[in-house]
Amino acid sequence: MLGYLLSRLLYAIGVVFGVSVAVFFLIRIGGDPSALFLPPDATLADIARFRTEMGFDRPLSAQYLDFMGRALHGDLGQSLRYQEPALRLVLERVPATLQLSSVALLLALLVSVPLAITGAVYRGSALDRTGLVISMVGESFPSFWLSIMLILILSQHFHMLPASGNSGWQSLIMPAISLAAYSTAIITRLLRSSMIEVLQSDYIRTARGKGLASGLVIFKHALRNAAIPTVTVLGLQIGALLGGAVITEQIFAYPGIGRLAIQAISNRDFTVVQAFVMFTAIVIVVINLIVDACYALLDPRLRKG
């Protein structure tokens, strides 16, 4: 078990290292990054001065070593607009995004898990078909359109919820629903189909045959095995939630890291964009490590791997 986790940890560190290379080259794929940071009316002299100031005129390898060296000390550069460390700007906004995405994830699980289980157990019933329709619809809506329609109906028409900002739990409801829609659809569909598969397997028939209560069979025997593929996808869904938060936060003017990233892009504040990508990547890698650990708990065969 320890060996398995240790090897996953080492691998995760490698992945973060790879992400750092990607983030480093992100602002350099278009050539000289100086032009990217400066307004379009900057003079050539401005650009030249900026280039030396930022060290963009040095060899790429030296620039990367410098970037990595500082990144290891938690320094991802200065925001040119706010004159503050980029990482601090991102970290300041993390709690808001964390709040939004955890509420969205919770919502997605609360809807999808019961739907998937009842759907699989009472396959073909009205409830099952409702679940399938919900997941088909949730998967096919553009989330930003759902957000706009929610604002139209719930805040502009019925004046029930605030359309933007972050003022208490009411501000979380609409963004969380829009953000949760896609994950709800994916989790319902996946958990339902793996539940169906597990329920048809021999050991479930044995468990039923020896007279176990059907609740026990479903929750203790079947769900535990059906959960394995779902847990992997859950890890991927957290990436999707963090990505989706970019759009949702923008629409609801919700002060999280996604909105910060969009603002940074329109302000040409690319150090903040870099810090944002680096931060989300590390979060996703850590979450996947946790998923790997859950795997080992759910499936003892993996502990030896």
Binding site: G18, W145, L242, A261, I265, F276, A281
Partner: protein
């Protein structure tokens, strides 16, 4: 033909296929069939509700803030959605299948490097990555296709690799190798045909997601230049008039929704017919 007959045994997916065909035909020739000039502004006719009649002529889905006919703009907007949807899937399919086959056939150093690349790719939320890359490169149709294509190859690579790992030990592959077939020949002649069903299924479902992503990027103003009508861009325009003209934002959203549902229905049916195991591979 027989395949199509089998496909048509399920009613809903057949309806989906019909819608997909209509949208595709519309994307190809729709610009010559629009009831109005999609670009013609007429401030006298601004924000007319659906079924509004002006001068004896019907605006089926109403008009937007500059008096342009929404139906005509939707018909032209299908072009970008379909082009980006299919072209970016083609790009990711080629990249993903090639990398997946190499990783599956040779699971030593190169194969492991490719799998590490998939994990790096998955660690960066793809929407974040595409927004950042387009901000750096500047928005254009080709940048959009390239960015969406090059950030969505992972699913292909993973599935194709898993298939190749089992296929390469089959007897017929070993026989081909013993007869002196070169690696490219084994990959292209003996492995590729066997991974194609999975590739078709992934592609059909990915097109739907790409259309959603394209509309999101267009909505954020990071898609094609705003002079070209797109469904996502139309929703973004319509947002400002929501309080008194809901249809401006609602209609393009419905267009996206119906198209994506139709493609998903077709994709699900293809999966059930070609490769039901793929149910476990979603993400």
């Amino acid at each position: 033909m027989q395949f199509l007959k089998r496909f048509a045994r399920a009613k809903l997916p057949t309806l989906g296929l019909l819608i997909v065909v209509i949208v595709m035909v519309d994307a190809l020739v729709g610009r010559w069939l629009t009831p109005y000039d999609p670009m013609a502004q007429n401030i006298m006719k601004r924000l007319m509700p659906p079924l509004g009649v002006d001068g004896g002529r019907l605006h089926l889905l109403g008009t937007e803030a500059l008096g342009r006919d929404i139906l005509s703009r939707l018909m032209v907007g299908a072009q970008v959605s379909m082009l980006v949807g299919f072209a970016s899937v083609l790009v990711s399919g080629i990249v993903g299948v090639a990398l997946g086959m190499i990783a599956g056939y040779d699971d030593r150093r190169i194969g492991r490097a490719i799998m590490a690349l998939t994990d790096i790719q998955l660690a960066i939320p793809f929407l974040v990555l595409s927004i950042a890359v387009i901000a750096v490169l500047g928005p254009s149709l080709w940048n959009l296709i390239l960015v969406l294509g090059l950030t969505n190859w992972v699913q292909y690579a993973r599935v194709v690799r898993a298939e190749c790992l089992t296929l390469r030990n089959r007897e017929y592959v070993q026989a081909a190798r013993a007869l002196g077939a070169s690696t490219p020949r084994i990959l292209l002649r003996h492995l590729l045909p066997n991974v194609l069903p999975a590739v078709v299924v992934i592609s059909s479902l990915l097109v739907a997601r790409m259309i959603l992503f394209e509309s999101s990027l267009s909505f954020l103003g990071l898609g094609v230049p705003p002079s070209i009508p797109t469904w996502g861009g139309m929703i973004s325009d319509g947002r400002n008039y929501m309080a008194n003209a809901w249809w401006v934002a609602a209609m393009p959203g419905l267009a996206i929704f119906i198209t994506v549902v139709a493609i998903n229905l077709v994709g699900d049916r293809l999966r059930d017919m070609l490769d039901p195991r793929l149910k476990q591979m979603e993400g």
